[in-house]
Amino acid sequence: MSVIKTENLVKTYTQGEYEIKAVDKVSLEIEKGEFTVVCGPSGSGKTTLLNIIGGLDDPTSGSVVINDKEITSLSGNQLIDFRLRNIGFVFQAYNLIPVLTAKENVGFVMLLQGKSEAERNERTEELLKAVGLEKEMKKKPTQMSGGQQQRVAVARALASKPQFILADEPTANLDSASTENLLDIMAKMNEEEGITFIFSTHDQRVIDRAKRVITFQDGKIFSDVSA
């Protein structure tokens, strides 16, 4: 059974008199435990695809089924709740709440899920340890490097025990060492705990680590290669 299944997904933006097909008839399936990269040049539709899969944006037509659930039919608040319970997000930047510490940031989604304080404490500490930030728990985002912030974002994305993690260009603002470090952590979580990761990137270092590479061009799947 696939975790994510899209069928004939189309997203068109109208800009003045132009119609831009940001995503053009995309059908794909992603299985549990994948470590998949969506790559392609800037403007090829990667972010749009991830946003639709993540329920952040509505498709113009087509369907998105996650764990047998058609999410395009969910209402606004249902969708928010669905995201909260099923999907972890890591963005390129502005991932964290600036006024909260690393630990508070990670605990925040669990708080929204209504988890007890004891459970939150235990899991945030465990997750921050897993991303190598046990010493940074009390720091605010501005006191951490870009790589550390992204690791907190990964920990935060995992905190809610989601079905999969969507990461839109998570390494775009990182140097090589931080990129490798972040990828190591994510690969390890994928290997050891079977967490499903879907990235978008045009960073070759990320592509090299992927188990499956879907290449986008002009909103269409250009190639889909599994290692």
Binding site: I97, V99, V109
Partner: protein
């Protein structure tokens, strides 16, 4: 919820300069509002008290014929005086009272003349009820001159070029309609808060009054009554009216409706000032919060993406706005309280406009004072305004579409 409060609270301190501007304007707004309120209600209260103390007292009693037509022979009868004395002595709320003889006449010197009331008083009893003796600018209070002394007001002294020791000619008609004229020596010049009072009243000794009109003693036209509490005036006046015949007791607000009217209209006027101040503050707060919401578009989008629902986002912005508006309020209230207390006891001398105030019947030395309810009122107004102000930015934040918001650069 606790975390939402925590985030909102910390957000207030994120842009220190911008929040500082809001804090300062809230602080100054509260202070300015309360201080203006205090000055003006201080003035009004003083004016009221001054008028009551120097002329009106709390309750006055006149015979009914006198009220209909102010005439020398519309004085109280002997039996009325006995009845009223009895009634006043039996009323425990009455602090003290005095009896006066009054006739309308003119005062003149070589420099001109003026219409005025000649008031015959018993100096010892009068000074227990009114404060003319405390308001002497020059001279003394019926202690120096044996022969027909008079106390005149500051304005009359100016108009008729009078000084202490000089003579004023008072003339009026006696009970039979005969024209009477007599010279009085100015013993003292008083300054009440009111120019018109100072221009049109001359105090002489009751014995001189009786002597002049050649009438019997106990020639009384007016009772001036002070109570222990001014607030009881209306009730006691009504009570007295049920006990006395062919005479009417009136409380100060009935005698001088403009005095109580001014109390009420000034209150409304000041409310308008407060509303304007709070309105201006609301605009500043809305503007600041809109900027903050716009600036945090990506962050708010991220919160929506990771599972914070719109209601929580709304609540968070509302709370942040309220915090932003209210953080400086205690300091504003404190500064207001300190400055009003300080100037309330030391007074502010409004010399520049002193003469204009005197014409309007107000002392140039102002002691700001406010009811403690004003502090509550302005706090509630700002609280209310902040809730209103929070709606606009919070609604703006709700309009964000998470996908758009995270894309926004």
């Amino acid at each position: 919820m606790k975390t939402i409060f925590k985030i909102a609270w910390r957000n207030v301190w994120r842009n220190k300069l911008r929040s500082g501007v809001v804090f300062t304007s809230v602080l100054l707004g509260i202070w300015a509002g309360l201080f203006v309120l205090a000055i003006s209600s201080g003035m009004l209260e003083q004016q009221k008290r001054g008028t009551l103390e120097s002329q009106l007292s709390h309750i006055q009693i006149h015979s009914d014929p006198y009220l209909a037509d102010i005439k020398l022979n519309h004085n109280f009868s002997k039996s009325q005086i006995a009845e009223i004395d009895q009634a006043l002595n039996d009323t425990k709320e009455v602090k003290n009272f005095c009896k006066r003889s009054i006739v309308e006449g003119t005062g003149s010197t070589a420099h001109g003349f003026s219409n005025l009331n000649v008031i015959g008083v018993n100096p010892e009893i009068e000074q227990k009820v009114t404060t003319i003796h405390e308001r002497l600018i020059e001279g003394s209070y019926f202690t120096k001159y044996k022969n027909r002394p008079a106390l005149i007001g500051r304005k009359l002294a100016e108009d008729l070029h009078l000084e202490v020791g000089k003579t004023i000619n008072l003339s009026f008609q006696d009970a039979e309609g005969n024209f009477i004229q007599s010279g009085f020596k100015v013993e003292g010049i008083f300054g009440s808060p009111s120019q018109s009072f100072d221009k049109s009243n001359v105090f002489i000794k009751q014995e001189d009054f009786v002597d002049l009109v050649a009438g019997e003693s106990n020639y009384v036209h007016e009772y001036a009554v002070n109570l222990f509490q001014v607030g009881n005036s209306k009730r006691i006046a009504e009570q007295l009216n049920s006990e006395i015949k062919e005479a009417t007791a009136e409380d100060w607000a009935t005698i001088s409706p403009e005095l109580s009217f001014r109390d009420e209209t000034a209150g409304a006027g000041l409310m308008v000032i407060l509303v304007i101040i709070v309105f201006a503050l609301t605009f500043g707060i809305v503007n600041t919060m809109l900027m903050a919401v716009l600036e945090r578009k990506r962050e708010l989008g991220m919160l929506l993406c990771v599972g914070m629902n719109k209601r929580n986002v709304f609540v968070m912005i509302v709370i942040e706005t309220i915090f932003l508006s209210l953080v400086a309020a205690p300091a504003g209230l404190l500064i207001s309280w300190l400055s009003i207390s300080y100037f309330g006891s030391s007074g502010i001398k409004l010399d520049a406009v002193g003469e204009a105030l005197y014409k309007a019947g107000i002392d140039s030395m102002v002691y700001p004072a406010v009811d403690s309810s004003a502090y509550l009122t302005i706090s509630l107004m700002i609280m209310f305004a902040s809730i209103i102000a929070s709606i606009i930015p919070a609604r703006k934040a709700l309009k964000y579409n998470p996908a758009e918001a995270v894309r926004a650069v």
